[in-house]
């Protein structure tokens, strides 16, 4: 019995009126964990009950602790009839099982009902006493840390990156059980919520076990998804990257990673590097030398085992002992390391990494995007043999649906296994031994399911992949660490790379910084390329070959050299499909897929060139299936990589025989395109240095324009169809207009509305070219559903509509967030779904972050209006006490009182003010200014109510003080401010602690849709409720922010005729404690004290 769970129910507030007669409620609480239930006393006749219960103690094994959620039900006592449930709270106690995460969960949780939404809050405290269990055969994996973030968490360093972990569990969906016909929607929803919570817990535990087996202690880039397969069941699956993480002991050390790093390697670096130039300085490597390498990448794998033996015999054993330490003797060790890399990765079934950004030196080369899709038919479960193979049978007995076939998970496993194998072979074909930025997704419509996987083929540095290797700290601010770089290049997998090592390690000692281009260099053999490509010498180091374009699914490496800024590029596509059933439907879909991918790819390429850029990062291609159409959406962040050659222009070619008018038309389009390209170059500040022809010239004649997107489709069968993505055109990039459709296509290229002045957007973690973020952020979720009303749908019309839909959504975002200018919408990823015939749903969760205008100033010259706002904004930042009544205020939180009142002591307020406000002097000034403020604020309020056109510019500070002054202390808020972001960081703030993963699943249903404001009103409330519940859980863990937040699922169904709607939302993220960057030297507790005291001293004398 390795754990004791303790729960205390303190109080409730804002409860709904349950007794119409008295307008009050007789509330009590049931606390349930596993099979044990406790009850509090009934607190009669109150909407704010004070139960103040004893500590309810559950004695449970840690397996249960991991799987089961704590279930708290608030009920209204009724003497004569059954007690009415008010609502429930599910608390995931997993964060308490890890010593480094939260120690206590304590706070106000919204009481949630799937029919009525949030109905008041309940104050709960939860603790866990864990007993050490040394049982080797244990089924639990307590203590393994989980992170949603796809980069190494900020206060940890990666000692080893072990690799891919995956798991899936399957169950029958309660919604589709026979009993669902007789039970209430509420019971059904709750059964579903509870089941998914349980399955998530189990999944996490199983993944944890795998991590422990691999010798790791954490999962980074953990992505859990569920597939609602309808009648055939419910699949919860997860993937992640197992790592061994070391906590960076103290914050001051973390600030100075260079000094902190205990690794001897850094000290050794000069020595290990010194001999290199001498040994290998044979001048610049010529392409000819590369010819000595002649076997194809795929062959190398088959040869590997035999060759390693010979290598081993040649290698001094001493080298082995030192493991990954940087080589003192280049030659032998390189061979050894190369072989180690291979073996390290070969050991793994799937050398995949869900990470999208890496410790410096981890990523050596990125080969290009690899993706695989497969269309499957979901089979109904015919097997009547109900076997409880999910280990934890008793939990299911309660739920009464212990019914799934034993082979079910295997089927799904096999499907994914197949796809992963495919990805792996694609990566091999690109000469890469690993796949990074890996992700998996599904799209289900009725009984058809498209499974998709994609990633970026890559060559990695083995040092991070083995035990006992060097410490590596992924501090982004470090511009370069010679050790890592040089070892990185030594780790070349093939002899081929020995060449590259020579030149690049030399460069490493020179002033240029090779990590800025190393990852662009091709990993495959130039003479045995997996596909024809146009190669040139790297424009950065001029030593290695690079492709002309690079598509990847990862984030732009921080060290990469980039010209200008990046921007969001989307390719959008709809294809009609005949309605069909079963096998025929699956065939139809898989026949369409290659064409969709091809077109999406062409669009991406065109749009990339139109922006004068040459690389895509964070590429996500989503293809969703509906009954009568397929919708494809590709999003990526385009950049101009300095290392890659400048993209050629786009040339339009008409049909061969043509009249003058037509020629005119063509040249008009051509002109428009050219204008757009040059305008975009201006906009994104793409002004690359001119490079002389002789350097660029490729030694190998390469006429064909190619891209590196390798993918295939397989239907239920294993057939793999490789598609030639060549555009088959000579010369730079020619678009042929041979029919009206093509004209449309080209014109549609130009319809992408330019970004409004002051806005940037990207779908990745960092925006190339913008660094000086302020701390003002606004995370948002937006959902739109469109109905296509035309009966005679055509592909053309459909495409245009879909394109407009996405453009309009973007326009709306720009308008809504206009007060944040200059700002960048980061992590702007759209998710498309086809919930019904003729309905298209687009959802996005992103964050708008403002940045310092200094950098943006040049661009904003043209437009005066935003400029004004910006200068005002800055004024306000510089003089936080200035009573300017015209600074944008929507998103700023002035230092405020009361927010910390109820927070646990370790909670640190991370305010979003850009400037650091010195709180003590703030208080003093407050007093002296208060009279003036009083006057000013009053005028502002009274005077501006109807007159000023831009009212949202009223000074936040003035009003902030006004509030301090006018609000009596009895009404201070007890709600902690919790920031949310889809990124792994919050600008201006430092993460000091990770409190655990947030993974929540909610269902909301209504039978009074009109009364709740229609579909929009219903969903608006629900999303706001989800945010509120996430914030409450984070606050209860002692945190003040959620990072890497994503909405993984938003399934919305409506039946307006019946006045009904249902929505399922699944979100996840990492709960963290933030402190503002300027405070990190101080002790957090002090900060806490002063923040809450200051406003009181400021407010007291006047109120």
């Amino acid at each position: 019995m390795p754990g004791k769970l303790k729960v205390k129910i303190c109080a409730g507030r804002h409860l709904p009126v349950m007794d119409r007669a008295s307008d009050l409620t007789d509330a009590f609480v049931e606390v349930k964990f596993s099979n044990t239930t406790f009850k509090t006393e009934v607190y009669p006749k109150s909407l704010n009950p004070q139960w103040n219960s004893e500590w309810f103690k559950f004695e449970v094994d840690d397996e249960d602790l991991q799987d089961e959620p704590l279930q708290i039900t608030v009920l209204d006592h009724d003497t004569y009839s059954a007690n009415d449930a008010i609502g429930k709270v599910y608390i995931d106690i997993d964060p308490l099982l890890c010593s480094e995460a939260a120690t206590v969960i304590c706070g106000w949780f919204p009481i949630y009902d799937t029919i009525h939404g949030i109905r008041g809050e309940i104050n709960v405290s939860v603790k866990v006493d864990l007993f050490n269990d040394l049982n080797r055969f244990r089924q639990s994996s307590c203590g393994v840390k989980f992170f949603c973030s796809t980069s190494i968490p900020k206060c940890y360093k990666a000692v080893v990156v072990h690799g891919f972990v995956e798991e899936l569990v399957v169950n029958e969906d309660p919604e589709y059980q026979w009993i669902d016909r007789i039970r209430t929607p509420r019971a059904s929803n709750e059964a579903r919520q509870r089941l998914i919570s349980l399955m998530s817990g189990e999944l996490q535990r199983k993944i944890g076990l795998k991590v422990l087996e691999m010798g790791g202690n954490a999962v980074v880039g953990y992505l859990q998804c569920f597939d609602l397969e309808g009648e055939s069941g419910l699949v919860v699956r997860a993937i992640g990257t197992a790592c061994t993480l070391d906590k960076i002991s103290n914050t001051s050390a973390a600030q100075l990673p260079a000094c902190n790093s205990p690794s001897k390697e850094i000290k050794e670096a000069p020595f290990s590097e010194d001999p290199n130039p001498n040994t290998y300085s044979s001048g610049p490597s010529t392409p000819l030398k590369n010819q000595t390498y002649s076997f194809s990448p795929s062959k190398s794998y088959s040869r590997q085992s035999s060759s390693s033996d010979t290598d081993l015999s040649l290698t001094p054993k001493t080298g082995m002992g030192s493991g990954g330490s940087a080589g003192k003797d280049g030659g032998h060790l390189k061979t050894l390391l190369r072989q180690q890399t291979q073996s390290a990765l070969e050991q793994r079934e799937f050398p995949f990494f869900t990470l999208t950004s890496f410790p410096l030196g981890f990523l050596i080369h990125a080969g290009g995007v690899v993706s695989a899709r497969s269309v499957k038919l979901l089979d109904r479960i015919h097997n009547p043999a109900f076997v409880g193979i999910m280990g934890n049978t008793r939990s299911y007995k309660l739920l009464d649906w212990n019914s799934f076939t034993a082979d079910e998970p295997e089927t799904r496993d096999a499907w994914w296994e197949e796809i992963r194998q495919e990805i792996k072979s694609h990566a091999k074909a690109l000469g890469c031994h690993a796949v990074v930025g890996y992700s998996e997704s599904t799209s289900i419509c009725e009984e058809v399911c498209i499974l998709s996987a994609s990633g970026t083929a890559a060559v990695l540095n083995p040092k991070f992949l083995q035990d006992g290797c060097l410490d590596c700290y992924s501090e982004n601010r470090l511009s370069r660490q010679p050790t890592f770089f040089s070892t990185g290049s030594e780790k070349g997998e093939f002899d081929f790379f020995l060449q590259s090592k020579d030149s690049s390690s030399m460069l490493g000692l020179e002033d240029t910084s090779p990590p800025s281009c190393g990852f662009c260099h091709i990993p495959y053999d130039e003479l045995n390329m997996p596909f024809p490509a146009h190669l040139t010498y790297c424009c950065n180091c001029r030593r290695q070959k690079v492709p002309d374009v690079l598509f990847t699914t990862i984030d732009l490496p921080v060290e990469a050299a980039v010209t200008g800024r990046g921007c969001l590029i989307q390719a959008r596509l709809c294809r009609l499909k005949k309605k069909a059933q079963g096998e025929a439907n699956a065939t139809a879909i898989s026949n369409l897929l290659p064409f969709m991918e091809y077109e999406l790819h062409t669009q991406l390429m065109n749009k990339l060139k139109l922006r004068g850029m040459n690389a895509l990062f964070g590429l996500r291609i989503q293809i969703s299936v509906g009954e009568n159409m397929l919708v494809g959406l590709a999003s990526a962040t385009g950049v101009y990589l300095t290392a890659l050659p400048a993209p050629g222009g786009i040339q339009i070619a008409g049909k061969t025989p043509s009249d003058i008018a037509y020629e005119q038309h063509i040249s008009n389009i051509q002109k428009k395109i050219n204008d757009t390209v040059s305008r975009n170059k201006e906009l994104y500040e793409i002004h690359p240095l001119e490079i002389s022809e002789e350097v660029i010239g490729s030694p190998i004649p390469e006429p064909r324009q190619r891209s590196r997107l390798l993918r295939s489709h397989s239907e239920s069968s294993d057939e793999v169809s490789e598609l030639d993505l060549s555009h088959g055109k000579k010369d730079a990039f020619v678009l042929e207009i041979d029919d009206a459709d093509a004209v449309e296509d080209i014109l549609s290229l130009l319809t992408d509305a330019p970004l409004p002045t002051g806005f940037y957007s990207c779908n990745t973690e960092n925006m190339p070219g913008i660094h000086n973020w302020t701390s003002s952020i606004q995370m948002f979720t937006t959902v739109r559903v469109f109905r296509l009303n035309n009966v005679n749908l055509t592909n053309q019309g459909l495409n245009k509509s879909f394109n407009d839909l996405c453009e309009n959504l973007l326009k709306s975002l720009y308008f809504k967030l206009r007060s944040m200018i200059p700002c960048c919408l980061c992590h702007l990823n759209f998710t498309v779904a086809v919930p019904e015939d003729e309905l298209i749903q687009v959802a996005a969760t992103a964050v708008a972050m403002t940045f310092d205008k200094d950098q943006a100033q040049e661009i904003l010259k043209s437009n005066t209006a935003p400029m004004k706002a910006i200068s005002e904004n800055e004024e306000q930042l510089q003089f936080p006490m200035e009573l300017s009544s015209d600074s944008p205020s929507v998103q700023t939180f002035p230092p405020s009182k009361g927010f910390l009142e109820n927070a646990s002591p370790q909670t640190i307020q991370g305010t979003s003010r850009a400037t650091s406000v010195d709180y003590s002097s703030f208080a003093d000034r407050c007093n002296s200014w208060i009279e003036l403020i009083k006057l000013k604020a009053q005028t502002i309020r009274r005077g501006s109510i109807k007159t000023t056109p831009s009212l949202d510019k009223a000074s936040p500070l003035a009003e902030g003080h006004l509030r301090l002054r006018s609000t009596p202390s009895c009404t201070d808020s007890t709600v902690t401010v919790v920031k949310m972001t889809p990124l792994s960081f919050i600008p201006g703030a430092k993460i000091i602690k990770y409190l655990g993963i947030i993974n929540m699943f909610f269902i909301r249903e209504t039978t009074s849709l009109r009364e709740e404001g229609g579909v929009s009103g219903f969903l608006h409330t629900f999303i706001a409720e989800v945010f509120a519940m996430v914030r409450a859980h984070v606050a209860a863990l002692g945190g003040n922010a959620v990072i890497s937040y994503i909405m993984k699922e938003c399934v919305f169904m409506e039946n307006s005729n019946k006045n009904q709607a249902q929505c399922l939302i699944n979100v996840s993220g990492d709960a963290v404690i933030l402190i503002r960057e300027s405070e990190q030297e101080g002790v957090p507790i002090q900060t806490h004290g002063s923040t809450s005291q200051t406003p009181q001293s400021g407010g007291a004398p006047v109120s």
Binding site: T782, V785, F786, S889, K946, D952, P956, S1016
Partner: protein, 347 residues
């Protein structure tokens, strides 16, 4: 091409920020009771489309989002302390203060129509007349009326200073809390303010009077230790006012009073002669008003009586405001100096 055009309708459109975005301009339009389409056209007239290079669709979607947010916030705004402690919307404190303050702000034209009326269902039914008369939308009228009524209900029976009660329960600014105190006070005593003769008075004028009355004539004003009630006029005090009648019924007293006032004011006011000639009438007017205040009906007519019996005669004689002030001060002080009144001071 036409057949290619796919008609699309937006079925659902939501935008939810972690920090709730609230545009003050749209908030005001919502408060003013405009429909979404009216609000959109008003916003368009402001040139917002050109300024941000956007389209009407976008503006409509934005307006709808805001309206939805405001509707969802409205029930919280009814109990501002709930807004502060609610979890659904993350709103920075200064924005909360703005929301509350604006929600409880009222139009001068509206308050003048309702001030002193019983805040009953009947009055609410007549709001469409008020709306027609003032040009304020019915929706806005209802909100303002409901605000008055809500504040009234909460503080009506509450002990302690009225202004502070309003402020503490509704988190309003000093100024607005004082205004509400006046509204509650007027509604409670049902002072008539709507008569034609009173039309020239602004709400501000009445609010000032209310403030004075609360400070000087209520139970709380006399004794702030027990039963501290600011809403009701002090019955005992009103009863005592009857004793003032002696100032007009007793001839000697009247003369004595008059001569004291005249002595004090000679050469100090412009309208001395008029005052001297009219003293008896003025004094009678004032004292009669005071003496009748024990009747609820007469309390209601307090302001109309003041205008008719005191202000209008003065106006007719072209008194200056300084003259009136000087007269009233002298009038009060002289009365205190009279023999029969000395005990009043000591008690």
């Amino acid at each position: 091409m036409d057949s290619n055009e796919v008609k699309m309708s937006v079925e659902l459109d939501v935008f939810v920020g972690n920090t709730t975005i609230m545009d003050e301009e749209v908030y005001q339009l919502w408060l003013d009771g405009y429909t979404v389409s009216d609000a959109v056209s008003i916003r368009m007239k402001s040139g917002i489309l050109e300024q941000f290079g956007t389209t009407e669709d976008v503006l409509e979607s934005d307006t709808m989002d805001h309206y939805r947010t405001f509707q969802m916030t409205e029930r919280l705004l009814h109990h501002p302390s709930k807004l502060v402690n609610q979890v659904l919307f993350q709103i920075p404190p200064h924005r909360q203060a703005m929301l509350i303050e604006r929600y409880y702000a009222f139009d001068e034209a509206f308050v003048r129509e309702v001030l002193g009326k019983k805040l009953s269902k009947g009055t609410k039914k007549d709001l469409d007349d008020v709306s027609a008369k003032t040009g304020i939308t019915l929706k806005s009228c209802r909100r303002q009326f409901d605000n008055f009524k809500r504040v009234f209900k909460v503080v009506e029976e509450m002990k302690g200073p009225l202004v502070e009660n309003v402020q503490c329960n509704f988190l309003l600014s000093d100024k607005l809390a004082r205004d509400y105190a006046a509204i509650v006070f007027f509604a409670n005593s049902r002072f008539e303010t709507g008569k034609k003769k009173l039309q020239y008075l602004t709400f501000e004028d009445f609010a000032f009077c209310a403030c004075q009355l609360i400070q000087n004539w209520t139970v709380g004003a006399v004794d702030n230790m027990v039963e501290d009630m600011d809403v009701d006029l002090d019955k005992e005090f009103l009863q005592d006012l009857k004793d003032l009648k002696i100032l007009i019924t007793d001839k000697d007293m009247l003369d004595q009073h008059k001569s004291l006032v005249c002595t004090g004011l000679r050469g100090k006011i412009q309208v001395f002669n008029e005052m001297e000639g009219n003293f008896k009438n003025l004094s009678r007017g004032l004292i009669n008003i005071a003496a009748k205040l024990t009747n609820t009906k007469d309390v209601r007519d307090f302001f109309i009586d003041l205008v008719e019996k005191v202000i209008e005669p003065c106006k007719a004689d072209r008194w200056l405001i300084s003259d009136v002030r000087a007269f009233l001060t002298q009038y009060t002080n002289s009365a205190r100096a009279l023999d029969g009144f000395k005990y009043v001071q000591s008690s």
